[in-house]
């Protein structure tokens, strides 16, 4: 019996690929699709994501700040209350954007619009899709961070050139949450389960030293909060915003690097389970 065969380079290509059938080195096609979709329909959602932290900053920083006055910033200097919470709000918005993109957005495309199903019938592998979506989430995070940092500048809350580093640091935070979020979403089957995500996110937003220092808590609660990812993001950006670095800065960055690595491992493992069954 004879068979129609294809060129040998096809078979070789498979052997040379690191992730086997999971990956075909075509992340950019997924990114291009995302940009095209944003252009034609999603830009309103994007705009609202930019304004959310700005509104918080005005209400809490300017409004509440009028009563609070100045507070002690990292490094010991006195800073306005708005300048104190602004980096924290940036960290929160990096988290929220990345989590939205990697959970609700992915959940919908996986289960309802069947977008991924269509993609996976092409040469793309699940890892191309996952990395493309994460890249898009980070690109959005980068735009938000840049915009928010500019608003901080306009409001006179920036006092050091170091503050520009808040932008890449916010992207790092977004990467940590996005890589984990996608892996977690792969376990979700219903909308009710998706609500658990909000159940974790809201307290993390309120209590991660976002609006007041960690020292208000008893010691054991401090430990608990310091184990959570958002606190590391808040403290990292707060240090950068005034240019006051300490050994803790390296720990914060390290925390996110580990989170990214574990998140990618989880996501890849889940994709293998979900799509190569």
């Amino acid at each position: 019996m004879s068979a129609v065969t294809t060129s040998h380079s096809d078979a070789d290509a498979a052997r040379n690929r690191k992730f086997g059938p999971l990956y075909s080195r075509n992340v950019r096609a997924v990114v291009a699709r995302g940009l095209m979709a944003t252009k034609s329909s999603n830009w309103m959602v994007m705009l609202s994501g930019f304004f959310e932290p700005v509104l918080y900053l005005i209400a809490m920083g300017v409004g509440l700040g009028a009563i609070v006055g100045t507070v002690q910033g990292p490094g010991g200097g006195e800073i306005s209350y708005a300048a104190y919470i602004a980096p924290a709000l940036l960290a929160v918005s990096a988290m929220n954007g990345a989590v939205y993109d990697s959970t609700w957005n992915v959940f919908f495309k996986m289960n309802f619009s069947k977008l991924y199903q269509g993609m996976l019938y092409t040469s793309l592998g699940p890892l191309d899709v996952a990395m493309g979506e994460i890249f898009l989430a980070l690109l959005r995070g980068l735009m938000y961070a840049t915009g928010f940092t500019a608003v901080m500048g306009l409001m006179g809350l920036l006092t050091t050139p170091w503050a520009i580093l808040m932008i890449p640091a916010a992207v790092l935070i977004a990467f940590g949450f996005a890589s984990f979020g996608m892996g977690i979403t792969s376990f979700m089957k219903t909308f009710q389960q998706m609500d658990w995500i909000n159940f974790v996110m809201l307290p993390m937003f309120l209590f991660s030293a976002t609006f007041y220092p960690l020292s208000v808590y008893p010691q054991y609660i401090q430990w608990f909060i310091q184990a959570m990812p958002l606190w590391h993001g808040v403290d990292l950006l707060r240090q950068i915003s005034v240019g006051a670095f300490s050994p803790a800065t390296a720990i914060h960055v390290g925390y996110y690097l580990v989170m990214i690595a574990l998140g990618m491992l989880l996501t890849t493992g889940r994709l293998r389970k979900l799509f190569l069954k």
Binding site: M1, S2, A3, V4, T5, T6, S7, D10, A11, A13, A14, R17, G20, P21, S24, N26, A29, V30, A32, R33, M36, A37, S40, S41, N42, S113, K114, L115, Q117, G118, M119, L120, Y121, T122, S123, L124, G125, F275, L276, K277
Partner: protein, 316 residues
């Protein structure tokens, strides 16, 4: 490109041997073997849950087999997923067009997923819109299209990478007769161009129209294999006589009809007599003094074969 195959025997683009897929203890596909030569229109028929879609997924390199062997264009889909899929076009059961993109962009973006360059994709997309009779809808949103248009766009999209094999999972389900006929016409044209068609369907007329050869599967196994005509010859008679005596009497009268034709089948609403000559059988019925309310002589169809092989009870 192709292997130095000697001329003579057909060139197979798909070969499955003892192909098996289990989900836990359940065998969705239970050791089926078949080969499809290049350029053939090959049908998979069977009731819901027979294993058709699972087989399609394994051929489409999106589901890994449990055991057996499967070769697509000489490649193993479990090892060479992306390469195998590069040669395939897939029309899934439910349209999964990208609703966030416009009609023409759907084609372009899908082509990008295969890593194809824009210089190839732009003219190709226009050509396919023409083929799918959607040229004037190029800039429309997907959700503004009718069911038939969406189906044609899905087929156009599946052709963007010039596949050698096209997988169609119930391509015309839910379409009105006009839309079905347009679609069939497009599929015929593809077949003329040498594209191998693999399709599943619930419509026996569709299978008779389109398929050169088909397999009937039930409970993960192949029940019969052959061309539509040969299956009718083998599993049914040339003609069928349909008699209605009223719902009350159909069952009781079945026994009195025994011996007419080759086989008598009693259904709740009618009695079927399978016979080489339907008119002669009808005469025999009246000779026996039976007066049906209505009678109809028709040619045997693939539907008769299908129901005989897979039974009449409802499968859920």
């Amino acid at each position: 490109m192709s292997s130095p195959a000697e001329t003579g025997p057909p060139q197979y683009v798909i070969t499955a041997e003892n192909l098996t897929k289990r989900y836990g203890d359940v065998a969705a596909v239970d050791g089926i073997s078949f080969s499809v030569p290049a350029g053939e229109a090959f049908g998979l028929l069977g009731p819901n849950g027979a294993g058709k879609s699972t087989t399609m997924k394994m051929i489409g390199a999106v589901s890994q087999r449990t055991s057996g062997s499967l070769s697509i264009m000489g490649l193993d889909p479990d090892l060479n997923g992306p390469e195998v899929r590069a040669h395939l076009g897939v029309v899934p059961q439910q349209d999964n067009l990208d609703e966030e993109l416009k009609v023409r962009d759907n084609l372009l973006v899908y082509g990008r997923y295969f890593g194809l360059p824009m210089s190839y994709l732009r003219p190709k997309a226009d050509e396919l819109l023409e083929f799918a009779q959607l040229t004037d809808k190029a800039k429309s949103k997907v959700d503004a299209l009718s069911g038939g248009m969406k189906r044609r766009l899905t087929i156009a999209r599946s052709l963007i990478n010039e596949p050698r094999i096209l997988l169609l999972d119930e391509p015309t389900t839910g379409l009105d007769p006009q839309a079905r006929h347009i679609l069939w016409d497009r599929l015929f044209r593809l077949k003329e161009q040498g594209v191998t068609l693999i399709l599943t369907t619930h419509y026996m007329d569709e299978a008779e129209q389109l398929c050169d050869r088909l397999i009937v599967v039930d409970k993960g196994r192949i029940m019969a294999e052959g061309s539509p005509a040969s299956l009718i010859r083998e599993y049914s008679t040339r003609e069928v006589l349909e008699l209605r005596f009223g719902s009350e009497r159909n069952a009781s009268i079945g026994a009195e009809l025994e011996g007419i034709g080759e086989r008598v089948e009693t259904l709740p609403d009618r009695v079927l007599i399978y016979a080489h000559d339907g008119e002669a059988a009808l005469e025999e019925v009246s000779v026996r003094g039976l007066r049906p309310v209505t009678s109809l002589v028709r040619r045997s169809s693939l539907e008769d074969v299908f129901l005989r092989l897979t039974g009449r009870s409802l499968v859920d």
